[in-house]
């Protein structure tokens, strides 16, 4: 399910596409950037941890306790912004 993407600098469209593929495969439908899949009742109790595991593996990042804000995770758009913020230093360091 998706090849890990450890590219130096990630772009918004690429991350959106990869996250969208994961969400579609797991939630069975295409989601708009602001759709809140938690309140839409699309997820079960295992999903929160699956989502964390996915972004960690896909982007080689570590989701830490400081990142635990539901606003980072509740929609495709929020998740994209979170991933871009967590990986922003990569492009800069290159």
């Amino acid at each position: 399910m998706g090849t890990p993407n450890n590219a130096d600098a990630l772009t918004g469209p690429v991350v959106t596409k990869e996250l969208s593929e994961f969400l579609t495969a797991n939630l069975g439908q295409e989601l708009a950037p602001d759709d809140d899949y938690f309140t839409m009742g699309l997820v079960n109790s295992l999903f929160a941890m699956e989502l964390v595991t996915f972004v960690e593996r896909q982007y080689g990042i570590e989701v830490q306790v400081e990142d635990l804000d539901l606003d980072n995770f509740r929609s495709l758009g929020r998740l994209r912004d979170f991933v871009l913020a967590k990986t922003a230093h990569r492009g800069a360091a290159a």
Partner: protein, 405 residues
């Protein structure tokens, strides 16, 4: 890191095997006495086996999921209570490794890795078993402290634990799920030992009351709201993996006993092994055991690679392995006859223990719900909203989707 020589992870399999061999004969007595002797606990702890998967920089052995699994199978094949000790310790360690702050990891993980601290996992309450979103234990903020009030049930090694990972609801954040560490020696921690339960009889269970126990705020694990969906969910995921492998060990041990007995025991001048019906029982036991092991190996591979599906596949492995342990132990008792019913019978003990495995860490029915949910979700099925009858509590926030364990 300590200077004492610690085994390389590669030696872990040998260590586990040696330990299992040296303890095998004693486990029936622990079951009868309802206690795991302290020296056994210490020996396993000092070998670093209570949380072997912790990374080396936190004092662990850096065991891979497959190595941890094999260790649990070996210990599970000796004594479910001993395997249960590894389960609860490593559940708490996993939760802290995953969601602890840097300071919390530093404070707790080395002691857990070396077994200087024994941890217990305290989620279940009278009104909250499968449905952990219903816990009522209060975690209230009072200045620099948290005050924990509630009653937990059926806590494995609750009688001796040095620290409990407690699931409650935060009093000041809209009643959201909160996880907090409570040291066992704090005033207000009251333990009521449980003895003589169906299985896991040496696991020194206790019902534990927290009577306005004050702990520093630094004991909170993750912000309120994430105690169930992330902290407890992470601990339970880890626990299911170790229970699943423990069940593989139980099933394989029962299979060995049953086969050996069938070959040695004759009735009417005919070895039991000659009877087709006995062979049928054994054949099914072989297939159930092998299938359980393969599902556990599959879960281990996915965990090793950090795959998101590892969580659901671990549920499937636990479900299958608990069922296998139950059916294989049942067949083994059948093949052994009265010998399987004797007070010190291993298969008889595992028969009792295996039923517990179909109830804890997600009962068989709850596992089925998860497995089917995972399937249907990928086809766009929406979760039916579950009514929460307890009035006046928590809004149905998103982070409360962590319902049935």
């Amino acid at each position: 890191m300590s200077s004492t020589a610690r085994p390389a992870a590669a030696d872990l399999d040998t260590l586990g095997a040696d330990l299992a061999r040296s303890l095998r004969e004693d486990a029936a007595a622990w079951d009868a006495e309802g206690e795991l002797p302290a020296e056994v606990r210490l020996a396993v702890a000092q070998a670093g086996l209570l949380a072997a998967e912790l990374p080396r920089d936190h004092g662990g052995l850096g065991a891979s999921p497959a190595q941890l699994g094999e260790l649990c199978a070996r210990l599970g094949g000796v004594c479910s209570s001993l395997r249960g000790l590894v389960t609860v310790q490593s559940m708490v360690a996993a939760a802290l490794l995953r969601w602890g702050t840097a300071q919390q990891r530093e404070r707790w993980l080395p002691g857990l890795a070396r077994g200087e601290l024994i941890a217990a996992f305290a989620a279940t309450e009278t009104e909250a078993g499968s449905d952990l979103a219903a816990v009522g234990t209060a975690v209230e903020e009072h200045g620099d402290e948290l005050v924990v009030t509630g009653e937990k049930r059926w806590i494995t090694f609750g009688e001796i634990a040095d620290v409990f990972l407690v699931l409650g609801v935060s009093g000041t954040a809209g009643g959201r799920p909160a996880a907090v560490l409570v040291e066992g020696d704090r005033p207000g921690v009251v333990r009521e030992p449980v003895r003589g339960q169906l299985g896991m009889r040496a696991a020194q269970l206790a019902h534990v009351r927290f009577d306005r126990v004050r702990v520093p705020r630094a004991n909170a694990v993750a912000p309120a709201g994430f105690g169930l969906s992330h902290v407890v969910a992470g601990a339970l995921d880890h626990g299911r993996f170790t229970v699943a492998w423990g069940c593989v060990g139980m099933a394989e041990a029962c299979l060995r006993e049953a086969a050996g007995h069938a070959v040695r025991r004759s009735q009417g001048g005919v070895a039991l092994a000659e009877h087709q019906q006995v062979r049928s029982l054994l054949a099914r036991a072989v297939v159930d055991s092998r299938a359980a092991r393969e599902l556990c190996l599959r879960a281990a591979r996915l965990r090793e690679r950090g795959e998101p599906d590892a969580i659901a596949e671990t549920v499937a492995a636990k479900y299958a392995a608990a069922a296998a342990a139950s059916s294989v132990a049942g067949n083994a008792v059948q093949v052994l006859g009265a010998a399987g019913c004797a007070p010190d019978s291993t298969v008889g003990r595992f028969y009792r223990d295996a039923k517990i495995m179909e109830i804890i860490e997600g009962s068989a029915q709850v596992c089925e719900l998860h497995i089917a949910d995972h399937l249907l979700r990928a086809h766009g099925h929406r979760q039916a909203p579950r009514p929460r009858p307890r009035a006046g509590q928590r809004p149905r926030g998103a982070q409360e989707n962590g319902e049935a364990r």
